[in-house]
Symmetry: C2
DNA sequence: CGCCAGTTTGACCAAGATCAACGCAAGTGG
DNA sequence: CCACTTGCGTTGATCTTGGTCAAACTGGCG
């Protein structure tokens, strides 16, 4: 589970409960979050820091407070696959009992809250609405994974890049300018492409006036309609 | 959610509760299933029959009693993507509120049980262990979707075919012979390949003596070690 | 027997990977 | 302050995998 609870934006928020963006509609869920807060541990990681590793035992799950986390896996021959990027408000590492099959790493400076599974289960006993909260997050995550499956299985390089940019614009600032915390290589491993193809597709969008790239990390959206058309689906 | 509750095998079972294969460890979960049975409707579909369509409202989820179901989506330009095959004992269509984003179709002759979401929610109130059952199924499903994401993003055609065959051997008979209910075209759309590439990869495995193909639907596993090596991961 | 749908195989093509060079900004050390 | 390095990012030339197009094969069935 690596997806949003809602459209939460905790980027500048030192405590996860100072804002109420978790998509809480039903009463009782806020209680659940207050209780969650009570079992949380705050951790920080610097660039490329390892939050957990493949094959580690699963006894915690996490929520991003600030920064960007990548969920990834390394194949024997060096190929890498990034399953997910997690931003502020996203939770990750809800993996079911056993061992991790992916690792979690800090893309930039990251602060996360860590919740022990055992304590969470106890909270669920007391407050079933928390269970619903977590279940809905899992379902959202599942829908997301299926969307990526479609992207990787049936979309061309330029469609993938367009979809990626739209995803980032929607999940992050939703403003005219987008600052990407991850490298081209991260993007490539997320989209099942090579660095070079990512560059070329971005350059192509730039040539067509759909985006501008003032510097490698920064994308300016100049023609959203064209970008959406490029995804088609 | 389209994955197993466990290693259940209901293929020859007219009622889902005549056998206890749902991976039930904790007591209380059997109760939950008896209760589930009470709210189920039995439906059958013939080849290519539509169980539900994209954009249909979500008010039910399903469990396969017998036959094979494909969960799929059609893009505007005719490209098709199959997210999942579901066999006896697998549940599918647990999609979170709103509209379906995929359709469900019968690959062959299919019998399913249908459970209304509203009735299920009531059961969950009475029997929280059902919630855990459904949550674990969702998590298993999620892990599965991530595995497919890796396959589609970073594996070659022959690796995909090898992984597919191993998946089918494990999920179905686990015997020397495997009968595939789905067409080459279904396999292609599941693996993000074309029919021709599926054929060529299968022929290549046949040439290498890893499998034999007595007829197009039937695969004989001759060298499991070689097949596992072909996936590498 | 001939048709039909699904499968297999072959010849060719193109999207994207690979290999290689170059650009560019941020350190680093003299 | 200025060479020099280092790590990304970008671009170009070439190659490979898998897609496209086309033809042949197969078993079932009217």
């Amino acid at each position: 589970m690596h997806r949003h609870f809602g459209n939460a934006d905790y980027r500048s928020s030192p405590t996860i409960l100072e804002r109420d963006g978790l998509g809480i509609a039903q009463s009782g869920q806020l209680d659940a979050l207050v209780m969650l807060e009570s079992i949380a541990t705050r951790l920080s990681f610097s660039r490329d820091g390892e939050i957990y590793d493949e094959d580690d035992p699963v006894y915690c799950w996490y929520m991003v407070v600030s920064g960007t986390v990548r969920i990834c896996k390394l194949l024997a021959d060096g190929r890498r696959h990034i399953a997910e990027f997690c931003f502020a408000g996203d939770c990750f590492g809800v993996d079911g009992p056993g061992k991790r099959s992916y690792s979690a790493e800090a893309v930039d400076e990251v602060i996360v809250m860590r919740y022990r599974q055992s304590a969470t289960d106890r909270l669920i006993e007391e407050n079933p609405s928390l269970a619903r909260l977590l279940r809905d997050a899992a379902l959202r995550d599942l829908a997301n994974a299926h969307a990526r499956t479609l992207l990787l299985g049936r979309m061309t390089a330029s469609e993938r890049i367009a979809a990626f940019l739209l995803e980032m614009f929607d999940r992050r600032d939703r403003a005219r300018f987008l600052d990407l915390p991850m490298s081209r290589s991260d993007i490539a491993d997320y989209l099942g492409l090579t660095i070079e193809t990512v560059c070329r597709s971005l350059s192509s969008l730039k040539r067509d006036g759909v985006i501008a790239i003032p510097n490698p990390q920064r994308i300016e959206l100049r023609d959203r309609v064209a970008l959406e058309a490029a995804v088609e689906a």
